[in-house]
């Protein structure tokens, strides 16, 4: 099967998952019914749009980071952007009223701060090792500060709303939320797609890549800006959703090949399909409430990933 045919199948999956996301829920809606129904437009559509965008950028940034760090275990969390954006959001929930605009702005501020710190820490030696070290430092610092903020919360209700938000969800998002988050995600995705060539060259190692004309400083700037915008906006609007960026490139590598540039577009499509389906399943959970998307991804992702590791453990490339 050609690459174009495989991409077409993935795209069809995304379309089907998007449709599922519109109709699925405690209340199933017919697609051919009154399309202007309030539930469809006000509740399901923004949710489906955000799921599509979030899944796409999580998959794409996972593929880019795995290529850049040449590590199949890398995912957007290692950069520290998501935990920094979460720190900003938690601060806004606790101390700025917690309106969706304030949370979004604070989370983007946190992501921007993380990007600036990453750039400052790795400016002098643009190499993936420096990058992952800086990201790890940033990630644990932001995690610690978030825990500190939570411990200063005025009352248990505030803590509950923070924890609820941190679990990541697409519930009750409005078209305004989608309109705020999707533009930075789209710009960031465009920036990430610019890395394709350089990621391929890095397959041969840093020296060989540089000898092929790759400017590591430029590449690193693209990775920082691209993940900052995509993951920052993603966390800002949905909270922290893990595993997508880690699992999707893995799933697709046997289908689309190992070359990093061949995985970028498929990972975006695969991530979108996965998040849309997972979010639809979240709504169908028994009981009055919903399973949080971040929790569902971890619940699906961890055993799935374990199975993948068991399957591939005898091969050189997992």
């Amino acid at each position: 099967m050609t690459r174009a045919a495989k991409l077409a199948i993935l795209a069809a999956l995304v379309v089907a998952a998007f449709a599922l996301s519109l109709v699925a829920g405690k209340q199933w809606l017919p697609l051919d019914g009154d399309a202007a129904s309030a539930i469809m437009i006000e509740l399901r559509l923004p949710r489906a749009l955000l799921g599509l965008a979030l899944g796409a950028v999580l998959g794409l940034s996972g593929a880019v980071l795995q290529g850049y760090l040449r590590n199949p275990l890398a995912d957007p969390a290692v950069v520290g952007v998501s935990s920094s954006a979460a720190l900003g959001a938690v601060a806004a929930i606790l101390y700025a009223g917690g309106s969706s605009l304030a949370v979004f702005a604070a989370a983007m501020l946190g992501a921007g701060g993380a990007m600036a710190l990453l750039a400052a820490l790795t400016w002098r030696s643009p190499s993936p090792v420096a990058f992952i070290l800086a990201g790890t430092v940033l990630s644990s610092l932001a995690g610690a500060l978030t825990a500190f903020l939570i411990s200063t919360a005025a009352n248990p209700y505030a803590i509950a709303s923070v924890l609820d938000w941190l679990m990541g969800a697409l519930t009750d998002r409005s078209l305004d939320d989608a309109a705020r988050a999707i533009p930075p995600m789209a710009v960031g995705a465009g920036v990430l797609l610019l890395t394709a060539r350089a990621l391929d060259a890095l397959t041969l190692g840093e020296d060989a890549a540089r000898s092929l004309g790759v400017r590591l400083g430029r590449l690193q700037a693209l990775v920082v800006i691209g993940t900052g915008l995509t993951i920052g906006a993603g966390v800002a609007v949905t909270g922290v959703v893990g595993f997508v960026g880690l699992v999707v490139p893995h799933l697709l590598r046997p289908v689309f090949g190992h070359r990093p540039s061949d995985l970028l577009l498929p990972s975006a499509l695969g991530g979108a399909a996965l998040v849309l389906v997972a979010d639809s399943l979240c709504r169908l959970a028994p009981g009055a409430g919903e399973v949080r998307l971040g929790v569902a991804m971890a619940l699906i992702g961890a055993p799935f990933f374990l199975g993948l590791l068991m399957t591939y453990r005898n091969r050189a490339w997992i």
């Binding site: 040449r70 190692g205 190992h258 050189a316």
Partner: protein, 256 residues
């Protein structure tokens, strides 16, 4: 177009790895770079590629390599590192195609010229039959030939290779030697770091001998590959064999 080192020095931390190297490597010839471990051979190649900060200047023709546009430099100078790691299990042909990256405009698919260069490089290294195999399934020697094909596919004016014969069986060593000699015969420059002094005698026109970051000897192969030159450098007693090439063979460790 010659490759000229003009008082080139390299430091790693506080340690000087290369001290004021002055030399002109000539196009159309194969220059072998010899020396004991830690002599600065690989560092010399990296300095020529502007992969390291240096003092002094390395020039390709009249252009300082450090200030060349990275893509133009990549088209002019091909580099085969000692590290044969390939980090993803890509197909051999895709690895070879990476050699064409500096020739391709952004986001364009490989052109017919690119495809022809890739095919020629695969043929030259006898790896065409491996083209669609994942690189992780190849033997060390096969992989080394594929990586050499990657550099050849770029058709650089200068080819700098770090230990290209390591991990090859004798037949493929001779093939690679013939290939590198053909590259030089076409008017391009070849500089390779070697440990095998016998192969250096067979492959090279010129030999540069480094020790402790300094040039000990540099000249035509027959003048440099002599026991008198090599013994103090390697601290090994050498003997010579008569033949079409000067053959120096290490015999025993010199007493310290």
């Amino acid at each position: 177009m010659d490759l000229t080192f003009d008082h080139v020095g390299v430091s790693r931390g506080k340690r000087r790895v290369l001290h004021g190297i002055d030399a002109t490597l000539r196009a159309g010839r194969v220059t072998a770079i010899l020396g004991p471990n830690g002599a600065g051979k690989s560092t010399l190649l990296k300095a020529a590629l502007a992969l390291l900060p240096t003092t002094g200047v390395v020039r390709l023709g009249v252009d300082p390599v450090a200030t060349m546009d990275p893509r133009a430099r990549a088209r002019a100078i091909g580099y085969l590192p000692q590290d044969a790691a390939v980090h993803w299990n890509i197909r051999a042909r895709d690895a070879v195609a990476l050699g064409r990256l500096p020739h391709r405009s952004a986001y364009a698919a490989p052109s017919a010229v690119d495809e022809a260069a890739i095919d020629a490089a695969l043929a030259a290294t006898e790896t065409a039959h491996l083209a669609y195999r994942p690189i992780g399934e190849l033997s060390g020697g096969e992989r080394a030939r594929v990586l050499l094909a990657r550099v050849l596919a770029g058709e650089p004016r200068w080819l700098l290779a770090d230990e290209p014969l390591a991990s090859l069986d004798p037949a493929h060593q001779l093939d690679v030697i013939a290939r590198l000699r053909a590259v030089a015969a076409g008017g391009r420059g070849v500089a390779i770091v070697l440990h095998d002094i016998v192969q250096a005698g067979r492959l090279a026109d010129d030999v540069m001998v480094l020790k402790d970051g300094r040039i000990v000897a540099f000249g035509a192969v027959a003048d440099v590959l002599t026991p008198a030159t090599l013994e103090p450098v390697f601290e090994v007693a050498f003997g010579t064999l008569a033949g079409p090439h000067p053959i120096c063979i290490a015999i025993e460790r010199l007493g310290r």
